[in-house]
């Protein structure tokens, strides 16, 4: 499968479009519903973090790629995760969003404002 991607302007209203994109890609590639839910949550958290850290005007890109029997999702930029969402200061030691992502995906890679997560797939 070719790489699929969506680029959204850095506004809160567009994050729902990312969830729709990630959900469609996940289901069409054979991810479990639980994996799809987790991917949608991770993509939302990363986009929200980038928006709260003043994402660039060119927006945020979410890319999906099939690789070695896995669906790989990349979000760029994903922010630095050095700021808690409003109301959650002090809930966790570091970033609540990052803790949430790492709770769902212990192997999540945070690399120079690119977040990478992967889930196993059952090819259709």
């Amino acid at each position: 499968m070719a790489q699929l991607s969506i680029r959204i302007p850095p506004g809160t209203t567009h994050v729902a479009s990312v969830r729709a994109f990630v959900g469609a890609v996940g289901r069409s590639t054979g991810c479990s519903e639980e994996a799809v839910d987790d991917l949608r949550l991770v993509a939302t958290e990363a986009c929200a973090q980038a928006i709260e850290e003043d994402a660039p005007p060119e927006g945020i890109e979410v890319r999906s790629l099939l690789e070695d029997g896995r669906l790989l999702l990349e979000i760029e930029p994903c922010g630095r995760f050095d700021r808690a969402p409003e109301g959650l200061d002090g809930v966790s030691e570091g970033s609540t969003r990052r803790a949430l992502i790492e709770g769902l995906f212990p192997d999540a890679e945070f690399d120079d404002q690119v977040l990478r997560v992967a889930v196993p797939i059952t090819p259709n």
Binding site: V15, R19, D37, P85, E86, T96, R97, A99
Partner: protein, 111 residues
């Protein structure tokens, strides 16, 4: 998109019914509605999340803000019917131990 379906009174509780997806775009209007209720004197607030199928940490922040505000007034905020992704988010952040959570409106305490 407005996620607030309705607000009604059940005994001592003011019940706010919510539906759809809660994120950093949709949760601020909900937070403002809840804070208005609290500011207006509501001290037993129940949030029915039965029809909420998605919730992120921005939404949790909004709910925590409301919880703090209602507790400052010796009031209560109870979450009703939490499941799926919203429950997973609450559990992973440990906030399931902070909020009072019941399965349905019939399980709301008498007051």
């Amino acid at each position: 998109m407005d996620v607030i379906v309705g607000t009604r009174t059940e005994g001592p509780w003011t019940l706010v019914e919510v539906a759809g997806e809660l994120d950093l775009h949709t949760s601020p209007p909900l937070r403002d509605h809840l804070l208005e209720l609290i500011q207006g004197g509501v001290d037993h607030l129940a949030l029915d999340l039965t029809k909420v199928d998605f919730m992120d940490s921005s939404s949790l922040g909004s709910l925590v803000t409301c919880l703090k505000r209602v507790r400052e007034r010796d009031g209560k905020l109870v979450l009703v019917g939490v499941g799926g992704t919203p429950m997973k988010v609450l559990t992973l952040t440990g906030l399931d131990r902070v909020f009072d959570i019941v399965g349905s409106t019939s399980e709301l305490p008498p007051g």
